[in-house]
């Protein structure tokens, strides 16, 4: 019986939050910014290089702007998650919910599904946008794009769970936001540096750089499991390798990652309580 009540509480709170998001301007401003930035990337990378070279053979010309688009959207929603719980605690509205039939599991899952639904809205607009771009520029709309878009739902799931965990862990909104941005930036920079250093041939490295490379590679073995971005990158890589098994594994590991982080969030939430 309590499962039914819990599902009901999740549905009602998700509905209230998504309604508030859709009636607000924030999501549309972010959508417009995402389209502008991804279009800029598309024009400046793919189209300009085609114009310069006269002809180019590209299997996935929309990949770069699409990657930028889903990356920005997932980061934005992760950011929203990172401030959602600490803001509710700060405003006191969380306490009022807990006077009634809402428990820590339904509350945390309500926040999670709200952000995921918001992402689906963004995804629908993105799909229309990229389909329109492919029609206008005649670059083609491959199944890979749809695969990446589907995969991005799980990237968002990881980002949102990560944001929720940070929001539960901190009491102040500003701390959660700064922590979220700093960690995502760290993961991105780390991933780029790691990729770069691993791409250099061993004989071209100084002994110090070899040492740094070993340290970074060992650190990567740990970070790749805690960085939400890495789960998406592994899935993208599977799409490009045409590896359905790797693709499915990336989705499964994203789901496990989300589940672990959400469970940690619920545990931490129960320990911290709902009071301001």
């Amino acid at each position: 019986m309590s499962v039914g009540y819990r599902i009901h509480a999740i549905k009602v709170s998700t509905k209230r939050e998504i309604r508030s998001t859709l009636y607000g301007v924030g999501i549309y401003v972010v959508l417009a910014l995402i389209f502008l930035i991804s279009s800029y990337v598309f024009v400046n990378s793919t189209l300009r290089s085609v114009a310069d070279a006269g002809i180019q053979a590209l299997t996935n010309p929309i990949t770069s702007p699409l990657f930028v688009s889903v990356g920005l959207a997932a980061t934005y929603l992760g950011l929203c998650s990172s401030l959602s719980i600490s803001r509710d605690r700060d405003l006191g509205t969380m306490e009022v919910l807990f006077y009634g039939p809402v428990d820590s599991i339904s509350y945390v899952l309500g926040k999670y599904f709200h952000q995921l639904l918001a992402y689906l809205v963004i995804l629908v607009f993105s799909l229309i946008n990229f389909y329109a771009i492919s029609l206008v520029t005649n670059v083609g709309f491959s199944i890979d794009i749809l695969s990446i878009m589907f995969l991005s739902i799980f990237l968002t799931s990881c980002m949102v769970s990560f944001g929720i965990l940070l929001s539960v862990s901190t009491r102040r909104v500003i701390v959660s936001v700064v922590l979220f941005l700093a960690l995502v930036l760290f993961f991105l920079v780390f991933s780029m540096v790691h990729t770069w250093i691993m791409s250099i041939a061993g004989q071209n490295l100084t002994p110090t750089m070899v040492y740094v490379r070993v340290i970074l590679d060992n650190a990567n073995n740990f970070i790749k499991w805690i960085s939400p971005v890495d789960y998406f990158l592994r899935g993208m890589s599977a799409v490009f390798r045409q590896d359905p098994g790797g693709y499915a594994l990336s989705i499964l590991s994203s789901l496990i990652y989300s589940l672990v982080l959400l469970s940690l969030s619920v545990g931490m939430f129960q320990r911290k309580g709902v009071r301001r």
């Binding site: 019986m1 309590s2 009540y5 819990r6 009901h8 509480a9 009602v12 709170s13 509905k15 209230r16 508030s20 405003l91 006191g92 509205t93 306490e95 009022v96 919910l97 807990f98 006077y99 009634g100 039939p101 809402v102 428990d103 309580g273 709902v274 009071r275």
Partner: protein, 315 residues
């Protein structure tokens, strides 16, 4: 309905609530009193399961809240001292959200009734950020009543209201109680508590010092009773006769007005009146000064008196 057993909450070295044994019976209005920092809100938060106790337990409707969390929460209505609202919503949207959360049947009809009771129905489409403190408090009460709960926990329910609003809320609470609802009120407006509560519990420094009906509290706190008589005309022999009565502690007179202090073990008004008549006096007014809840509260909390023993005050 509410039972706490040795309920204790410690924050580091500070004991906010100390071995609290609280009993609120079904159908009663219970006044939960105490000065600021006495531990009342901490207790209410523990009753609601929002703060875990350090020791002891809470039982609501005979069960621990963890045994039947959702069903218990659906049977409680809560009004906090400060109203935390979704200010971007209208009152209608706000109550509709909570109506859905509590799965209230005929929710729109119920919202109409509840908002009507707190006189906010005409303001139902206004954004909550434009509401005054008093309106927010009344909306909070409407939310607490919306799902027709069996138990109401109200923390300072009238603190932001004008006298008209206070009367409105008092009438609503009495109506709810007449329907069989149990109500726990924590308030500093002692005159209101005295008017509507069947029993009161007084907390100080985390401990429950007294828990009884007002009449019983008065009886146990009062050592002397003051009677004020007004006679038709001044009579010295009446004053002298009153002084001779064995239960009289002191007498003072000011013309036709006489003040008699008696022991508090029983009501001596009849004997005082008869003595006056026997000595040719005519009583045109006789008043007994009763200890108010405010006086009882101040006496108990200032002296930190524990009245939880069966007989009389004990420090």
């Amino acid at each position: 309905m509410i039972e706490t057993v040795r309920l204790t909450k410690k924050f580091g070295d500070l004991t906010a609530v100390d071995s609290l044994n609280l009993h609120v019976e079904k159908g009663e209005i219970y006044g939960f009193l105490g000065p600021n920092g006495a531990g009342k809100t901490t207790t209410i938060m523990m009753i609601l399961g929002l703060l875990p106790p350090t020791e002891g337990e809470v039982r609501l409707f005979g069960k621990r809240i963890s045994e039947d969390y959702f069903n218990i929460k659906r049977r409680i209505g809560v009004l906090a001292e400060v109203q935390y609202l979704y200010e971007e919503m209208t009152a209608l949207e706000y109550l509709r959200f909570f109506g859905q959360l509590y799965q209230v049947e005929n929710v729109d009809q119920r919202i109409k009734e509840t908002l009507g009771r707190v006189n906010l129905y005409d303001r139902r489409n206004e954004l909550l950020k434009g509401y005054s403190r008093g309106m927010k408090q009344k909306l909070g009460l409407a939310r607490a009543l919306l799902h027709d709960p069996e138990l109401l926990l109200l923390d300072e329910p009238v603190s932001a209201l004008d006298p008209y609003g206070i009367k409105e809320v008092r009438d609503i609470l009495l109506e709810e109680n007449a329907k069989g609802k149990t109500i726990l009120i924590s308030s500093h407006i002692l005159s209101e508590v005295e008017r509507i509560c069947h029993r009161v519990g007084i907390m100080n420094k985390g401990r429950l010092l007294a828990e009884d009906t007002m009449a019983e509290l008065r009886r146990r706190l009062t050592e002397e009773v003051e009677l004020t008589l007004e006679l038709e005309e001044e009579r010295e022999e009446v004053v002298a006769a009153l002084r001779e009565l064995p239960f009289v502690v002191g007498v003072s007179s000011n013309g036709k007005q006489i003040t008699v202090k008696t022991r508090a073990d029983q009501d001596y008004r009849g004997q005082v009146s008869a003595t006056v008549s026997r000595h040719g006096g005519v009583v045109i007014d006789l008043r007994r000064h009763e200890m108010s809840l405010e006086e009882a509260f101040v006496t108990i909390t200032e002296k930190n008196l524990s009245l939880l023993t069966k007989e009389g005050p004990a420090a």
